[in-house]
Structure formats: structure tokens, C-alpha cells
């Protein structure tokens, strides 16, 4: 379909029919989430699911449109005064669900909380020199050094605004079942039980278009079979974030839509250590990984074979689709072939193979299956891949450079900017995140240039250069760019289900089917 032309061009991404709904009120819905959430506070839990909840309750200064453009949020207007200074003007009349108006103090307190050392969002704010209220409704943020990517920072992925009083009162305990969340979004949380679900009610004081849905229950049903049965027996009205392998079974009971979620699944090799310091070994892995097979078999075609960490949708704001398309097409493809893999390995210093461990998070069974598939291929090369399941939390805790020679990198960008992936993972100076210990001066230079670039297209080209240069070295072996499946019962629709839909107030766009 025309709107989706850019993504369709990369093949495979199934289109979401431009669904339209009526304004008829919907009293209540129950939707399933595939795993439980232990806290609603996104700065505490490292998973991705609580964003889905928090994005309904809290807003940021800016918001991201379903297609990935920056849009007004609590700030109705924003300006970049110079390379290091950003000014945001707050919307009039925005109030928290407890009735208090949103003030600059609340914004400052929320940013402060995000910058706190204990916060999981602090990384995004590391480059910020100061945050000040420069007017009754004006907040000015100054950076230590120019960073073009900062414009994405005050969006829901890295900043969620709550009231100063609330944050002070519940310091360290925000998001538990007793304290819940306070925000200015279209919904407010009325109850939350870890392992059970979240109950949300419409916040009628929200400034945006009035949602049709009054009451929403998000139920945590980790068990795939139970989830499906729940849908079939009518206990739930749909499910979010369905794993691809399940989604097929749902088509008879619900309307399933697939959208790219921009996430990438990739292997990260530690290039500073044996055996992966040897490019032949990395290439052998690349040839041994049956990526089309994984996409077809494990993900049922609901994904795209990845050639780079950055998914094509991420360039939407920066470069014309045709440019990225041709650049990606020129990358070495590493088609699946065990002979090629064997040949590569034979050239390496590890001809006889070796043993290496690969852990995957329990919330990503498809990663586990892919790992097993890879292990199956590697076995014929004499490489033993030990696959191990760990909790999501454990997996994230281990996601530190140097911890393991081989790791999964499973990343959901929360912004629409390629730099969110390139800077932490390809830059040699990003020691805390560069899982591959990747060091390439050309890449570093291109990334530095992109940071200070002023024009979007110029910046885009620098970033693309970096991506291309890195791809040749294969520090990461991208496996696939994933899609998310949303199943909804046939009488409701989610309007504008773009790749960024779930980072915004998605439930506000649920309508009754026309």
C-alpha cells in the first residue's frame, strides 16, 4: 500500500491495512501481554514491555508518531538554539491524572530522576550539561558537546514525566503495586499486580483526542497455550507483542497485524579475544547461520533477514529510502552455506573448532530456537555451541562488553534515529556498551562527524558510511529485523499501527471497527 511503500521496498514487511474505526465508545478491553512486568517504572526494569504500559500513562516532552517522526508531546514547541542548546515550551492546560497541572518543576524533577545513577535511562542523558527552567513554561537543556541525536532524547523512550511531588514522595518505589504511576497521558493505572496484570482507566483530563476505550486491562499471560485458549474462549480481546511463531495460530480467532518493530536480533562477537578476534571465524559463523531459514522457519516469514544492526525504518527521518536501499544491497550478503563456512574456518586459527556458550533471554524463545539452529549448523564445523536460557534480567545484566565472547544483541530502539544503535555499539569510545570491543578509526571518524553534523541528510550519510564500514569487519552478525504481531478481536482496530505505535499512547487509537 502506498503509505508503506518505503518499508515494503525492503521486502517482507506485511502491511497493516489502513484500518479506520468509529468513535463509538468501548467500555472495556482485556489484552494479553506475553510476559509479566515486575515494575511499571521503565527506569528500573530493563525489559521492553513496561514501555507499552508506561507510554499510555506518562508522556514525554516530545512524542514519536507511529511512523517515526518527532511530534509535540507535553512540549507544544521545541527549538534548537545552537549545536548544544535545546528549548522546550510546555503545553498549556496539561494536567496530571491527579489534577495537578504539569509545570516546569515537574519536568526538571523527571529529568533529574532519569539522570540519576540508579536509573536505567541515565545513559541517554550522559551528555547533558544542564537543565534549567528558563520561563514559566520553558525548559532549556544544554549539552556538554554537540550531539545531533539528542533531539530524540526527550521522547517516551528515554524520558517519562511525572509530578515532582509524586517522585519525591515515592523515591525509589515508583511503579510498584502500591505506588503505581502518575502521569499526564490518556490513561491512568488503577491497579497493578506483578504477574497478574495492569488495570487502566481513561484519563479524561488528557489534552489529546478523547480515546474511545474507557477501561483497559493488560493481563500477563506468559504461557503461549493459555494465551491462545484465553483468546479462543473469549476471555481476552487481543494480545500485544505476540511471538511470531504463535501469531499464525491466532488468525482464526483474531485480526493479526504485523508491523516492523525496528528491533534487531544479532550476534555480537568479542573481537578482542580468541576465537572471535579472527575474522575468519566470524565469517564462518556468518556463512553457517541460515538466516533466511530462521526467518522462514522460526519466524514464519514475519521478519526480514538483517544485513545491518540498523533497520531500514530507522533512516526514515534522515535519508531517502532509495539511498539506504542501494547501500544495504551492496553489503556482503554471506549466504547460508556450510561449505563456505568450513572453508572460512579452515583458514582460521581454530580449524578444529571450539566450544562457546550462547545465552538467550527467557522472554525471547525465538532467539533460543535460532541459537539451536545455529548450533545445529556449527556442529558440522566442529564448533560446539552451548545454548542456555537465562532470565531476561540476567541476560541484560550480562550484556556488558567483555562478559562473554559471544552474545545475542537484541535491541529495540526507542527513538527513530540510527545513532541509537551506531553510537553505543560501533564507537570504540563507548566502552560500556560496545559489546564487540569494536575499534575502527574510519567508523569512529564517521560517527564523530555525524554527531556534529547539522543537516539531516549530511548526518545520515555519515552514519550510513559508518554502518557500511563496520559491516565489512563483521563485529556483529545481524540475524533479522523483527516484526511485532498484534492480535485484536475483530470488532476493534488499532488505528495507525506503525512501527512506533507502541512507544506512544497506542490505546488512545483503539476504535470500534467501522
Amino acid at each position: 500500500s502506498p503509505q508503506q511503500k518505503d518499508t515494503a521496498a525492503h521486502g517482507g514487511t506485511s502491511e497493516a491495512t489502513p484500518a479506520k474505526g468509529t468513535d463509538a465508545p468501548i467500555d472495556s478491553l482485556t489484552l494479553a501481554l506475553p510476559s509479566s512486568i515486575s515494575t511499571l517504572d521503565v527506569s528500573r526494569e530493563a525489559g521492553i514491555l513496561n514501555y507499552t504500559v508506561a507510554a499510555l500513562v506518562q508522556e514525554s516532552l516530545l512524542s514519536i508518531s507511529p511512523t517515526g517522526r518527532l511530534e509535540p508531546g507535553l512540549a507544544e514547541k521545541w527549538d534548537q538554539l545552537d549545536a548544544r542548546t535545546y528549548v522546550y515550551t510546555l503545553r498549556r492546560g496539561a494536567v496530571f491524572s491527579d489534577g495537578a497541572p504539569v509545570t516546569t518543576d515537574d519536568v526538571l524533577a523527571s529529568i533529574e530522576a532519569a539522570r540519576d545513577t540508579t536509573s536505567g535511562l541515565a545513559y541517554a542523558w550522559a551528555n547533558v550539561a544542564s537543565v534549567r527552567a528558563t520561563g514559566e513554561r520553558e525548559v532549556t537543556i544544554t549539552l556538554s558537546s554537540p550531539d545531533a541525536a539528542f533531539s530524540w532524547t526527550p521522547t517516551p523512550g528515554t524520558l517519562l514525566i511525572s509530578s515532582k511531588a509524586f517522585l519525591a514522595k515515592h523515591k525509589g518505589k515508583v511503579g510498584t503495586s502500591q505506588t503505581l504511576l502518575l502521569g499526564s497521558g490518556p490513561y491512568k493505572v488503577t491497579s497493578f499486580a506483578a504477574d497478574d496484570g495492569v488495570q487502566l482507566e481513561r484519563n479524561d483530563a488528557w489534552w489529546g483526542r478523547k480515546p474511545a476505550l474507557r477501561s483497559l486491562k493488560l493481563s500477563f499471560i506468559p504461557d503461549a497455550g493459555t494465551r491462545l485458549v484465553a483468546m479462543k474462549s473469549g476471555s481476552i480481546d487481543g494480545a500485544l507483542d505476540l511471538p511470531a511463531d504463535e501469531a499464525g495460530s491466532w488468525t482464526s480467532a483474531a485480526e493479526v497485524t504485523y508491523t516492523s518493530d525496528r528491533s534487531v536480533v544479532s550476534l555480537a562477537f568479542d573481537t578482542s579475544r580468541a576465537p572471535f578476534d579472527d575474522p575468519h571465524v566470524r565469517k564462518a559463523f556468518a556463512y553457517a547461520a541460515d538466516r533466511p531459514g530462521m526467518v522462514a522457519g522460526i519466524l514464519h516469514g514475519k521478519a526480514d533477514v538483517a544485513t545491518s544492526l540498523v533497520s531500514p525504518e530507522m533512516w526514515g527521518d534522515l535519508l531517502p529510502a532509495a539511498d539506504t536501499e542501494s547501500a544495504y544491497a551492496a553489503l556482503t550478503p554471506y549466504p547460508f552455506g556450510l561449505d563456505a563456512a568450513k572453508a572460512e574456518l579452515a583458514e582460521s586459527a581454530h580449524k578444529d573448532g571450539f566450544t562457546v556458550e550462547l545465552t538467550y533471554p527467557n522472554s525471547g524463545p525465538q532467539l533460543g530456537t535460532a541459537a539451536l539452529a545455529l548450533a545445529g549448523s556449527l556442529k558440522s564445523l566442529g564448533i560446539t555451541l552451548k545454548v542456555k536460557e537465562v532470565t531476561l534480567e540476567q541476560w541484560i545484566a550480562d550484556l556488558v562488553p567483555g562478559r562473554k565472547p559471544l552474545q545475542f544483541l537484541w535491541y529495540f530502539p526507542v527513538t527513530g534515529d540510527p545513532a541509537e544503535l551506531t553510537n553505543p555499539y560501533l564507537q570504540s569510545s563507548a566502552t560500556a556498551t560496545n559489546l564487540a570491543h569494536y575499534r575502527n578509526t574510519a567508523v569512529d571518524r564517521a560517527l564523530a562527524a555525524a554527531t556534529t553534523a547539522t543537516g539531516t541528510a549530511e548526518r545520515g550519510r555519515f552514519l550510513l558510511d559508518a554502518v557500511k564500514a563496520a559491516a565489512a569487519d563483521l563485529p556483529y552478525l545481524p540475524l533479522w529485523w523483527a516484526q511485532t504481531a498484534t492480535a485484536l478481536s475483530k470488532d476493534v482496530v488499532l488505528e495507525q499501527p506503525g512501527p512506533f505505535a507502541l512507544v506512544g499512547p497506542w490505546a488512545a487509537r483503539i476504535r470500534r471497527t467501522a
Binding site: Q178, D223, T226, A230
Partner: protein
């Protein structure tokens, strides 16, 4: 030959008056016995609590790191945790403090959510308790009658049928059984909800718990059936049953008063054991039916290595197990007078079988 004497009521054989109930209860359940059992239970609990406390040490690595969970283990953070949990004190002292805290309901905070553990458990206790009670009811309501039936019809078709059923339920893992019930009663027939605890309490909750409770109950029914059957078969073979029948006591009365009476002790022991199985079963059932109860919490906490929550829950389960044990121990002497007279004096003119 002694000449026949007609028995007549003389002064010697006036019936002794029935003793009042509290005297009889005192005789049936001697205080000393009760106190000894209580002491035994306390000892058991002490041992179990020590084992539970040791869980923190079972986790590989430094306990402080364990308690930090996935938070970054900076030296400051580690020091803070050490100070918080007095990890540098002697182990005995730590245990004492932990136990004292536990007895006061202070069970620490969850590593995963940072919530107070007592509150976390409290949220889930009700649901799990309802589940276990209903499951228990199902197991008892099915297991005892079927067991008695099988025992009475031992080695006949009815017995074989009951036993085969029992073997199948015993051999079916709870998760598989749960899935089958879901498919039949929720999907095919659409009679019952398939998942979740239902909203609010009362009827909806009950409706939601029917399938889980049935799954749970069925999984332990076989144990009860086997035990009851064996007890009934054993009792039926006893001479006193034959004697009762030979005296013309109506069959039904013999069954209830003589046969079933004799099965009380083994069956009540079995019921005590079943409680342990039920507690274990909740883990699987809650997983399959997406019930936010203690079992699910346990699995979640275990995979997360959320030690304080696991400890608290283990302690709770230990207490329940001890309580069940104590109950059966106290029921036994009520049911079987022979267990009461450990301390009573033996009759002087005793004689034994010579045959």
C-alpha cells in the same frame, strides 16, 4: 460343670455413668502427648527454617551479589547490601536475626520488584489458599469414595477400573492434564473460563478456579485412592470385621463403623501427605492457568534468584507442612486409642497368644 446362673442386675453391674465430654477428650488426647507433639513441630520448624535460611548460601557466589540481583555490583552497592543484611556477622547471629524478623513478619524486600515481601506474599496467599482448598476438596471428594469402592470390590472390574483411572491420573503430569481439561471444558464445550483468577472474589473467582482446582485435585486423587483402597482391603481382611458380621451386625453398619473406622489413621496420614503434593501441584497449575498465586511467584522468583521472596515462601510452605503434620498427629490418638496409652500402665494379668 458349674450350674447355670441366671444373670441379673446386681449391685456389681450397675452401668458406670458416661463421663463428660471434656474428661473423655482429655483421656483421648492427653495433654502430655499434645505438648510433646507441639515441641516436635517446633523442632521441625527450626530445622526447616535453618534450611530455608541456608538458601541464600546455596546460591552460587557471594550472597551480597545475589542480593543485589541484576543491579550493578559497585563496591558501594555491595557494601550497602552487606551492612543492610548484616552479612559480615557470624552466621548464627544472622540466622537469629533473620528468624526473629521472620517471626515478626519482616521478611525483607524483593530483589526483583523492591516491594516488601510480606505484601507480595499477602497478595497471592488468598488465591493459592482458595486453589489448594478447592483442589483438596476435589481430591477428597473423589479419592475417598473411589478408594473405598475399589477396596470393597477388590480385584473385581470396578476396582480395576478405578485403579486404572488412578494410574492414568498419577502418570499424567499436571501441565498435560490441565491442558486437556482446558481444551475440553473451555474450548470444546465452552463451559468454563480457561485462565486467570477472575475479577473480584465470589462467584466469578469460583468459576475461574473450577478447572485449576479440578486439575490440581485430580493430580493427587490417585494417591488418596491407592491409600484408601489399601487401607480398606487391609481392614476388610481383619478378623474383627468377620466377627462383627458373624454377630449379625448389619453390613452397612459394619462397613461404616468397623471397616472405615479402621482406615482413619492411614488415610489421615495420607491426607496430610496429599497437602504437600497439592502445594507442589499449585506451581504447575498456576503456570498453566495463569493464576497469580504463590506457585507462580515461586517459579518467577526462583528463575530470577529473588532469594528473599523464595525464602519467605519456603518458610510459609514449611510452616504449612508442619501444621499439616501436627494436625494428623493430633488426629491419630483421637482415632486410635492404642496410640494414647504410651504412658498408661499395662494390665497386670496379661497373656499372649500361644498358638
Amino acid at each position: 460343670m458349674t450350674p447355670p446362673r441366671s444373670p441379673g442386675p446386681g449391685p456389681a453391674n450397675r452401668p458406670a455413668p458416661q463421663r463428660p465430654w471434656h474428661v473423655r477428650l482429655g483421656a483421648a488426647l492427653p495433654l502430655r502427648y499434645v505438648l510433646r507433639r507441639l515441641a516436635g513441630t517446633a523442632g521441625l520448624l527450626a530445622v526447616l527454617s535453618a534450611a530455608v535460611f541456608a538458601l541464600l548460601r546455596v546460591a552460587p557466589g557471594d550472597p551480597a551479589r545475589t542480593l543485589l540481583g541484576t543491579r550493578s555490583a559497585t563496591p558501594q552497592a555491595l557494601a550497602a547490601v552487606r551492612a543492610d543484611h548484616h552479612l559480615d556477622d557470624p552466621v548464627a547471629e544472622q540466622y537469629g536475626r533473620w528468624l526473629a524478623d521472620a517471626l515478626h513478619g519482616r521478611l525483607g524486600t524483593s530483589i526483583r520488584t523492591g516491594q516488601d515481601v510480606t505484601a507480595v506474599l499477602g497478595d497471592r496467599l488468598a488465591l493459592s489458599a482458595q486453589l489448594v482448598l478447592l483442589g483438596f476438596a476435589v481430591a477428597v471428594a473423589l479419592g475417598l469414595p473411589l478408594g473405598v469402592l475399589a477396596g470393597l470390590r477388590a480385584r473385581r472390574p470396578a476396582d480395576r477400573a478405578v485403579q486404572s483411572l488412578a494410574v492414568v491420573t498419577l502418570s499424567t503430569p499436571v501441565f498435560a492434564g490441565g491442558l486437556v481439561l482446558i481444551y475440553v471444558f473451555s474450548l470444546m464445550l465452552g463451559w468454563l473460563p480457561a485462565y486467570g483468577p477472575g475479577s473480584g472474589g465470589g462467584g466469578d473467582r469460583l468459576l475461574h478456579l473450577v478447572l485449576p482446582a479440578a486439575t490440581l485435585g485430580l493430580s493427587v486423587t490417585a494417591v488418596l485412592v491407592k491409600l484408601t483402597r489399601a487401607a480398606v482391603v487391609r481392614e476388610l481382611a481383619r478378623e474383627h470385621v468377620t466377627f462383627a458380621l458373624a454377630r449379625g451386625i448389619p453390613t452397612r453398619r459394619v462397613l461404616i463403623r468397623y471397616v472405615l473406622r479402621g482406615t482413619v489413621v492411614p488415610v489421615s496420614t495420607g491426607i496430610g501427605l496429599v497437602l504437600a503434593y497439592l502445594l507442589a501441584g499449585t506451581v504447575m497449575v498456576e503456570q498453566v492457568f495463569a493464576l497469580p498465586g504463590l506457585g507462580q511467584l515461586l517459579v518467577g522468583s526462583v528463575t530470577f534468584k529473588d532469594v528473599p521472596v523464595v525464602q519467605a515462601e519456603a518458610l510459609l510452605i514449611a510452616a504449612l507442612v508442619c501444621l499439616a503434620n501436627l494436625t494428623t498427629d493430633l488426629v491419630h490418638p483421637l482415632a486410635d486409642p492404642r496410640l494414647r496409652t504410651a504412658a498408661a500402665t499395662a494390665p497386670a494379668d496379661r497373656d499372649k497368644g500361644q498358638a
